[in-house]
């Protein structure tokens, strides 16, 4: 039986520096889930559905087609990294809950992280810009209308309105 060489990597996850000894073939989505970050969902494993979306150095990527070793010495944000550790949700999370943008919830972490990336650059996005920002995540429940409402409400609140 083949014995695999374990590789040491360091990743900053949600602000904490974490050290791992990994099988170099493990994907980032699997490593994160094995370490308790269950907000990272597994769907297609092909980079199509987007439920495994995380932020890598502040940009959305699909962690099911990214080797964990590629995240070495880089910064990862998962949905667990948003909001207050005491349980107070982030403004975007709150807006998704209030607008009914969450049905089964499976795509929600990816949607929220994509929204965060968008609103960090642009607090007044047009419908097309929202559509472009969310285009990597598939939702089969909501028809996207409530999700658009949630993004707009988040933007309003982050602008200090509403």
């Amino acid at each position: 039986m083949e014995v695999k060489h374990l590789q040491k990597i360091t990743i900053e996850i949600n602000g904490e520096h974490k050290k791992f000894k990994i099988d170099p073939s493990i994907m980032l989505s699997d490593l994160l889930r094995e370490n308790g970050y269950f907000g990272v969902k597994i769907g297609c494993r092909n980079g199509d559905c987007g439920v495994c979306t995380i932020l890598l150095d502040g940009k959305t990527v699909k962690s099911c087609i990214l080797y964990a070793a590629q995240a070495h010495e880089r910064r990862v944000t998962t949905i667990e990294g948003l909001g207050d550790p005491l349980g107070i949700p982030h403004i975007i999370q709150q807006a998704f809950a209030e607008t009914g943008a969450v049905q089964c919830g499976y795509c929600t972490p990816g949607m929220i992280l994509s929204t965060l990336e968008l609103l960090e650059k642009n607090l007044n996005p047009s419908d097309q810009e929202i559509k472009d920002a969310l285009d990597g995540i598939l939702c089969r429940c909501t028809g996207y209308v409530k999700i658009f409402d949630a993004v707009k409400l988040s933007a309003e609140r982050l602008r200090g309105e509403n």
């Binding site: 695999k4 073939s25 940009k59 990527v61 087609i65 080797y67 070495h72």
Partner: protein, 278 residues
Amino acid sequence: MTNPQKFLYPKTIDEALEMLASPDSCPIAGGSDLSLQKSTSFTTFVDITRLPINGIIEKDEFISIGATSTFNDLDHPLVKNIANGLLSSAASKIMDTPLRHQVTVGGNIVGRYWWSSLPVVFLALDGKIVLQSKEETRTLTTDEFFEKRPVHIMSKNELVTEILIPKEVTNYYGDCQRFSVTEAAHSIVCIATSFKKESNVCSNVRIVAGNLIRSPKRLTDLEEMLEGKELTQELIDEISQEAGEKLEKIRNNEIASGEYRKEILKVLVKRALEGALN
């Protein structure tokens, strides 16, 4: 699934080329394709994302695009200035936002993905590809680079380090038209064109078809019809009717028949040229 045994993280191009000289090693940048391959003989993955080849800068007569620039990095002022924003606009329509953060320009042109319009645009812009190995640095025209399969163009030890776009084309007219079943789906026909237009006379014409076969293809018969001529609606109609007639047989794929794709090609050529009328 591929089965890497080890990742290496070079900081310089020389270090990377040394590592890539080993027969069991291959470069990895975005990794979106490599991670999905069923198998590969390579066991050492050399992560080239830490190399200084991810910038977009002006360099002499060219705009240099580092090979590990991602598709979203092409949303850059220098790139947006090229031929009506031809390159940045085409890149923004391929795949989706998270994938465009991951997929790199170098990986995409070496991979020759049939669905990607980026090689089509690079060929339309008369780009150059810079390849480095331990022994030498050489620059190929995109005509040379896309003429044959990568395995016949590059050695295993070579790395694409940058893509050069001549500054001269910055003021050219350019357009890229693609057709896909949905906005986010893979394109099944793509046309990119660029040319100089002075007093409505066209020169240095390039019309390139893609997504039909594995490599982009210049439609030289159409280019000749337009070269040195005044652009009129009648000429555009004539040129578009000839589109695809000299191409080798356009095959059926899982989405559309070859015949259908050829008809779409004519429509896209027409649209791409009509944009230059105004």
